[in-house]
C-alpha cells in the first residue's frame, strides 16, 4: 500500500461519511428557502457552514446532498458498466474465433464515437429520471472493461482448471460465469475504481448543462452550474462545490492509478 493510496482512500471515506451524516446533523434542509438570508457568507453562527445560495437555502446541506447524488449515480452507473463489460468481454474471450473478432470490432467502432452526445440525445428524447441516467452513463463506460476482461479471459481459458471443468462436461455458460468470472475479480476492481471518476464526470457534465439531475434534487455538477451564475458577487457558491468535485475526482484517479500499479507489480513477480 503506497502513501497516496492511503491518503486518497482516507479522503474519499471522509467525504462519503460527511455527505451521509452532514445533512442529518444540520438544522437546515435542502429545500427550505430563507429570503432574509440570500447569498450569506459561510458562518458558524446560523450553522450555515458553507453560507447560503441565491434562494437562501443552506449550501452545506445542498453540497452534501449533491455529493451523495453524484457518488450514488457514479457507483450505480459503474456497476451497470461492470455487468455489461464483464459479460461481453468474458463471452468474447471465451468463445474466441470469429465471434470474438466481430464482437471486438464492434467495441472498436463504438470506441471511436463521441458517446456522450448519444447520452444527451437520450436525455432529449426521453423523460429524464434517475434510472435512465444510471443506465445511460453505465452504457457508455463498459468498453474499457470489456477489452480488459476479454484479454484476461483469453489467457484464463487455457488454464488447467478451465480445461478440467470442460472435460467434466460443465456447460460453457457455467464455465464463464462460475469459473472464469471470479478470477477476474482483482483486475475488475481496479477498473471499477477508474470507471467511477469517468461516470462522475459524465453525470456532472450533464447536470452542469441542465440535462441531468433536475431541481430541487441536485448534484455537484448542478451546484457548479448554479455557482457560475453567482460567482461575481458570491464566489464561495462556485468554489465550494467545484473544489469538492475536483477533490473527489482527483482522489478516485490517484487511487485507481495506484491500485493498477499495485496489481501490475504483483503480476510481474
Amino acid at each position: 500500500m503506497s502513501r497516496s493510496m492511503k491518503v486518497c482512500g482516507g479522503i474519499l471515506v471522509f467525504v462519503v461519511v460527511l455527505a451521509l451524516v452532514g445533512p442529518l446533523i444540520s438544522p437546515h434542509t435542502y429545500l427550505q428557502t430563507n429570503f432574509d438570508a440570500l447569498l450569506q457568507k459561510p458562518t458558524l453562527g446560523d450553522f450555515h457552514l458553507f453560507g447560503t445560495d441565491d434562494l437562501g437555502r443552506d449550501l452545506f446541506v445542498r453540497v452534501m446532498l449533491g455529493a451523495q447524488v453524484t457518488i450514488l449515480v457514479a457507483v450505480v452507473a459503474s456497476i451497470v458498466s461492470l455487468v455489461i463489460g464483464v459479460a461481453y468481454g468474458a463471452v468474447a474471450g471465451y468463445v474466441g474465433g470469429r465471434v470474438d473478432a466481430v464482437m471486438m470490432r464492434f467495441v472498436d467502432t463504438l470506441y471511436a464515437l463521441p458517446f456522450i452526445f448519444f447520452v444527451i440525445l437520450l436525455m432529449v428524447a426521453f423523460e429524464r429520471n434517475f434510472l435512465l441516467i444510471f443506465v445511460a452513463i453505465g452504457a457508455i463506460n463498459w468498453l474499457d472493461m470489456a477489452r480488459i476482461v476479454r484479454g484476461q479471459t483469453l489467457s484464463l481459458r487455457e488454464r488447467e482448471f478451465v480445461e478440467a471443468a470442460r472435460l467434466a462436461g460443465v456447460s460453457p455458460a457455467r464455465i464463464v460465469f462460475r469459473h472464469i468470472a471470479p478470477n477476474l475479480f482483482g483486475i475488475v476492481i481496479v477498473y471499477v475504481t477508474l470507471t467511477i471518476p469517468q461516470a462522475i464526470l459524465v453525470e456532472s457534465f450533464l447536470s452542469f448543462l441542465g440535462l441531468g439531475i433536475q431541481e430541487p434534487q441536485t448534484s455537484l455538477g448542478a451546484l457548479v452550474d448554479a455557482g457560475v451564475n453567482q460567482m461575481e458577487g458570491a464566489s464561495w457558491v462556485l468554489l465550494i462545490p467545484a473544489t469538492l468535485l475536483a477533490l473527489i475526482l482527483l482522489c478516485f484517479n490517484f487511487l485507481g492509478d495506484a491500485l493498477r500499479d499495485y496489481f501490475d507489480v504483483r503480476d510481474q513477480r
Partner: protein, 298 residues
C-alpha cells in the same frame, strides 16, 4: 477502414433513438387540436411509416440536408450548423494546437529529467489536469483572471479582438495538455532506452540532436493515435466552454437544442459531430502510415 458503415450505424441508431421516444416534438406545453397536430405532423412528414421516414432522412443526409429545425422555424439544420461551426472550429483548432505543442514539450522535458522534482511536478500537474473537468477549470479561470485580476475579458460579446479567445482556448486545451504530456513522457522514456538511441549517443550526438532527429518521431506515435479521442474530447469540452463564455458556436446551439427539445437540430449535430470524429480518425490512420512505414506493409 469502415468509416462509411460506422457512420451509417450512427445515423440509424441516433434516428431510431429520437423516434422511439414516447411523445412527439409538438406535444409539450399546450394540447393542440387534433387537426393542427395532424397538419403539423404532415408538414414535417411525421405521419409516414418509420422506415419511410428513415429512408427519407438518410437520402437527405447524403445530400447534406438534415431537415428543418423544429424551433428555429425559418432555418434548416444544415444552415444552422454552417453558420455556427466556423466559430467552434477556430476555437477547437487553436486548443488542439496549444495542447499538442505544450503537451509534447512538457512530456519530453519530464522524460529527459526523469525522477527529478521537475518530472514529479509535471506529472502531478498532468494528473490534476486530467481529473478536473473543463466546467470547473473554466469558471475558476474566469473568476481569477477576469473578475479578480481583470487581465482578460470574461465574455465573448462586446469584446472584439484576440483577448476574448485566450481563456476559452486555455480552458479547452488544459485537459488535453495533461493527457498528451502523460502519453508523451511514457513513450519518450521507452524510446530513449532503446538500442538505436544508445548507438546515437555512443557516436557522440548531443541530447538536442538525438531528440530532434531520432527520438521525437517514434515517440510521437502514441500521441498521434490519441488525436482521434482528443478531437472527441475537445468537441465535448467546447459544448461547456461555449456555454460558459457565451460563444455563439455549435456547442451552444447543441445545448439550446437539447434544452428546447429541438429533435432535428440535436440529431443533426450529433451526426455532424460523429462524422467529424470518424473523419479525423481516418486522417490519423493515414498519417500513421506516412510516419511509420512499417504499418503500410501489413
Amino acid at each position: 477502414m469502415g468509416a462509411i458503415p460506422t457512420l451509417l450505424l450512427v445515423i440509424v441508431l441516433a434516428f431510431l433513438m429520437v423516434h422511439a421516444a414516447p411523445g412527439g416534438p409538438f406535444d409539450d406545453e399546450r394540447v393542440l387540436p387534433p387537426e393542427t397536430q395532424a397538419a403539423l405532423e404532415a408538414a414535417y412528414n411525421l405521419d409516414e411509416p418509420l422506415h419511410q421516414q428513415l429512408f427519407n432522412y438518410l437520402s437527405g443526409v447524403v445530400r447534406g440536408d438534415l431537415g428543418p429545425s423544429y424551433r428555429y422555424r425559418d432555418y434548416t439544420v444544415s444552415e444552422l450548423i454552417g453558420s455556427a461551426f466556423p466559430v467552434s472550429l477556430k476555437l477547437g483548432a487553436m486548443a488542439m494546437l496549444v495542447a499538442l505543442i505544450v503537451g509534447v514539450l512538457a512530456g519530453t522535458v519530464a522524460a529527459l529529467r526523469r525522477n527529478t522534482a521537475l518530472d514529479k511536478f509535471v506529472m502531478a500537474f498532468a494528473m490534476t489536469g486530467i481529473s478536473i473537468p473543463v466546467f470547473v477549470i473554466a469558471p475558476i479561470l474566469v473568476l481569477l483572471l477576469a473578475v479578480k485580476l481583470q487581465w482578460l475579458p470574461a465574455g465573448w460579446s462586446g469584446n472584439e479582438g484576440t483577448g476574448r479567445l485566450v481563456l476559452p482556448v486555455i480552458a479547452l486545451a488544459l485537459p488535453q495538455v495533461a493527457y498528451i504530456a502523460r502519453l508523451m513522457r511514457a513513450s519518450m522514456v521507452d524510446v530513449l532506452s532503446s538500442d538505436f538511441i544508445r548507438t546515437a549517443r555512443a557516436q557522440g550526438l548531443g541530447t538536442t540532436a538525438i531528440i530532434r532527429y531520432h527520438a521525437l518521431k517514434p515517440a510521437m506515435l502514441p500521441v498521434l493515435s490519441y488525436m482521434g479521442p482528443a478531437v472527441a474530447a475537445i468537441l465535448t469540452g467546447s459544448v461547456v466552454v461555449e456555454e460558459i463564455f457565451g460563444i455563439p458556436g455549435l456547442g451552444q446551439f447543441f445545448v439550446r437544442g437539447a434544452l428546447n427539445r429541438d429533435y432535428t437540430l440535436v440529431l443533426g449535430i450529433v451526426i455532424f459531430y460523429a462524422a467529424l470524429v470518424v473523419l479525423f480518425n481516418l486522417v490519423v490512420d493515414l498519417l500513421y502510415g506516412i510516419i511509420d512505414p512499417r504499418i503500410r506493409r501489413r
